[in-house]
């Protein structure tokens, strides 16, 4: 282990995933620093979720390496995931358990210390106290998102993966969530990998973005500076521009 390896929350090197002849992820490399929020952007099918699934070790990469902190995910999966957590719209918590039951269940799995105290903290933080004994199956999508975020912060992760975390939230709740995650990243040096189709949100939240298309990173940089550098009025226009372009040859990528 080198010092620089330990100084990043996440290091992905030359990641590839193919399904037969289909190359879902094609040689992706990037890092997320401690306290940094990195946006992973791209059109549907670009490979964002595949990358997140490989980081979470629910999908084996065809080649490449993933390190969470200084831990190799392929060699020490359980240890690496103990310092990671995630929330995704497609990974809802069991609907037949109440909010508190779900948090206690996952808290035990993540071996959270002083679990009851931690659960109370998160219930307050995400204004879930009134819903504590409500089964998750009857919650609104916004409430479910808040529970999923509470679960994602249970173990005070060093790396947080958020796949469209505010997709189901109203503007006020989405803003509160962004603030909470920014504060979490700033105060605890937690690295965050964030996917979203809301470019205004990405501009507000992310320190850096990676534009992904056809499994490759086409563009990387500051979301507030990139549009101007590439002749676009804003990030959304740049997104549409990149998404509609045929895949550039790797040597011609706009990095």
């Amino acid at each position: 282990m080198t010092e620089s390896a330990a100084a990043v929350a996440l290091r992905v090197r030359d990641l590839r995933k193919n399904y037969g002849k289909v190359q879902a992820v094609d040689g992706v490399s990037f890092e997320v620093g401690p306290g940094e929020i990195v946006g992973l952007l791209g059109p549907n099918g670009a490979g964002k979720t595949t990358i997140i699934n490989t980081i979470l070790a629910v999908l084996t990469p065809s080649s490449g390496s993933i390190r969470i902190g200084n831990i190799d995910v392929s060699r020490q999966r359980s240890l690496a995931l103990a310092r990671t957590n995630f929330a995704a719209v497609y990974a809802t918590l069991p609907g037949n358990l109440t909010v508190v039951q779900n948090l206690r269940f996952f808290g035990l799995i993540y071996r959270v210390r002083a679990l009851s105290h931690r659960i109370e903290e998160l219930l307050r933080q995400f204004t879930l106290d009134a819903l504590r004994d409500t089964k998750c199956g009857v919650l609104s999508s916004g409430e479910l998102t808040r529970v999923a975020l509470a679960k994602a912060l249970l173990n005070r992760p060093r790396l947080l993966l958020l796949d469209e975390p505010t997709a189901s939230l109203d503007p006020a709740a989405a803003r509160a969530t962004r603030s909470a995650i920014r504060a979490r990243a700033r105060d605890t040096d937690c690295g965050v990998l964030w996917t979203s189709h809301n470019m205004y949100e990405v501009e507000e939240v992310c320190d850096r973005v990676l534009f992904l298309s056809h499994g490759r990173i086409l563009l990387a940089g500051d979301p507030r500076a990139l549009p101007g550098e590439h002749g676009a009025r804003n990030l959304e226009e740049l997104f549409i521009q990149l998404a509609s372009e045929p895949l550039a040859h790797p040597s011609e990528q706009l990095t």
């Binding site: 999908l59 359980s78 995931l81 069991p94 037949n96 269940f105 996952f106 799995i109």
Partner: protein
């Protein structure tokens, strides 16, 4: 293996039972019906038979033990299916939870729930139909150990099948005990089976249990070697089922099945 993640799997089952008492019904309803049905059949056979055979011990005891084995398997499979039905795989397997901890949690949950079934069976069979397990003596402990072990092996195998072939394969899993019962010689001696069925029976630990049970009840000497053979087989089959589960899991991770496991059918 760590205690907390295993406790989490058990706690989840407890929450589910507490939250919906209907889930407790299968633990004892079907075994209760079986005991009543076979209890009366045994009573009738005792009344018309002059051969001095104790049908209550022979049939009712066999039903009780075989049901127990099936309960263990179904308890484990149902606990696993809870995660299928609630689409919880991604949350579970993207966590630090190890496969060994997950499976251990399922096994303990199934043993605990089948104990409830066993208690209900005994509560019905002993006072109502006069079944006496004391006749089996200490051999009963050995029989229970083998049947629990085989039930666990079947449960792990069934869960692996659901993971491999998708949620729709659930229907393949439930009839497994019924399919195996003719080979396990639950109600008749192995000698009545044709040679090929006997060959299969020798690979199934319960067949040794039921042969042993009949021997003890008929006052024949209890053979230790077959009993040890049954225990060894049960342990081996648990290990094989565990190995198969891990292989299926790794394949699911490699192919991406685990990440998108919710489709009705997968291939």
């Amino acid at each position: 293996m760590r205690v907390e993640p295993i406790a989490a799997i058990l706690l989840r089952q407890w929450y589910l039972l507490r939250g919906s008492p209907v889930r407790a019904l299968p633990m004892f309803a079907w075994v209760g019906i079986d005991i009543v049905l076979w209890g009366f059949i045994s009573r009738f056979l005792n009344s018309v038979s002059a051969a001095g055979i104790n049908f209550t011990a022979m049939f009712l005891g066999a039903v009780l033990l075989w049901d127990l084995c099936g309960r263990v398997m179904q308890g484990l499979t149902t606990a696993f299916l809870e995660d299928v039905w609630s689409r919880n795989f991604l949350n579970l397997f993207a966590s630090p939870l190890r496969i060994s901890e997950y499976v251990t949690g399922l096994v303990i949950a199934s043993i605990a729930t089948s104990m409830v079934g066993l208690a209900v069976m005994l509560a019905l069979a002993v006072p109502v139909f006069g079944l006496s397990f004391l006749a089996l003596g200490l051999h009963l402990l050995l029989f229970l150990l083998v049947l629990y072990g085989f039930g666990v092996a079947l449960g792990i195998l069934a869960s692996a099948m659901v993971l491999r072939f998708g949620p729709a394969s659930e229907w393949l899993v439930w009839p497994i005990p019924a399919l195996l019962s003719p080979f396990c010689a639950v109600f008749y001696p192995l000698t009545v089976l044709p040679a090929w069925m006997r060959g299969v029976a020798y690979l199934l630990p319960p067949s040794y249990v039921f042969e042993g049970m009949r021997a003890v009840l008929q006052g024949r000497p209890f053979a230790l070697l077959p009993a040890l053979c049954a225990l060894t087989l049960a342990a081996l089959e648990i290990a094989l089922a565990g190995y198969y589960f891990v292989r299926v899991y790794r394949r699911a991770v490699r192919t991406g099945l685990l990440a998108r496991y919710s489709a009705e059918t997968v291939s």
